[in-house]
Point group: C2
Chain length 217, copies 2
């Protein structure tokens, strides 16, 4: 059995935050597929694993961890990577909380509703609501990255911190949103490119199991 076991599926940006950390650190990890689109995260077995009914769940040395931001904090210790500089710990926490509150929460749900929910269940009003909030959050991120290479400074090992790994969660699914990325968010795009150029980077669809998008290979 691998050292780390990550319960995940390919379309989950929240699980990707953790998978990316493990990949970039060349950790010994394996994916345990959660068949989210067939309701596996609501099964009694999964709810026993995580009563919140969410991926990611990470198992490591007898510990079972949930919430991507808490898992990233844990991995920054066990992997010795992505840890904010001492004076930047709370700044990284601030952006991780903001990601959960404003960026991922709206972007992920917007994407889900426009890509994965059956058309007859979609609400154009809800989609417009989520689009507005997601783009508002992206504008805040764009403003910050216009004069920062990394969200909360470089990590102790150089490169991205846990805050960067949290915020990128849903951003490599770029073509699944109706967004003019290069035009509207050039600094976000530059930052995504910086991270994608680092050793070990993989796209979520390349490092987690699950169904491809309809119409994709």
């Amino acid at each position: 059995m691998a050292e780390y076991r990550l319960h995940c599926f390919a379309q989950s940006g929240n699980a990707y935050k953790v998978a990316l950390a493990l990949e970039m650190a060349s950790a010994d990890w394996e994916a345990v597929f959660v068949d989210f689109f067939n309701g596996a995260n609501r099964s009694p077995e999964f709810l026993a694993l995580n009563p919140m009914g969410e991926v990611p769940v990470l198992e490591h040395r007898g510990e079972r961890l949930t919430q991507s931001g808490a898992i990233l904090d844990y991995l920054s210790e066990t992997l010795g990577r992505f840890k904010p500089a001492p004076g930047m710990r709370r700044e990284a926490l601030r952006w991780t909380l903001w990601d959960n509150h404003k960026l991922t929460s709206n972007l992920a749900t917007w994407r889900f509703m426009t890509n994965f929910l059956p058309p007859e269940k979609r609400s154009s009003e809800v989609i417009a609501f989520l689009e507005g909030r997601a783009k508002g959050a992206l504008a805040v991120l764009e403003g910050h990255l216009a004069d920062h290479d990394w969200i909360a400074g470089p990590a102790l090992d150089g490169g991205p911190t846990t805050a960067d790994l949290s915020c990128v969660g849903y951003l490599y699914f770029g073509d699944e949103y109706q967004i003019a990325w290069e035009h509207d968010y050039p600094s976000v795009m530059g930052w995504l490119d910086r991270i994608a150029a680092l050793p070990g980077w993989k796209h979520p669809y390349e490092c987690m199991p699950g169904h491809p998008l309809p119409g994709r290979d």
Copy 2:
């Protein structure tokens, strides 16, 4: 000038998370009113204070802090209160992240749309969407509190930790939601009563400035 200055307004449960910590610790603090309902949080002056355009903002000894969860973490050190036990730090972080992601984000927006947004701007589909997600989060909290007095154990000083203070943010506005609290969430109610019985507790409308709800005193 008071030692702590909190930019806030009465209806903000996110600001209340911080105000409640300050009140319960009998800190020397003052409120700086942000006229949110007249757009003060979008003014150039406020965006210079916090580019995220959000309350709370806390000023203390030359530091300027934003994001309630990061501020609570800061206050747990400066106030010497509400700090999770050493082995529970990440558990408190996990629930604070969950609150930002699933509880506050949906509950606060649902409340805003049903209480504060002009009727002609309300979307019944968006309201139903937020109601469903807020109640889903409350069910998770209810399940957890059914066998826990505190969300992440008692704090080092006994009583609630930063995770409790984060999660209660929007829950003392109970009569502003269409929820059968006692019937559906009895454990949540018991926990709210435990906190409200502690020295220094105040309702948000009693410790932060701003307009009362229409029709209230």
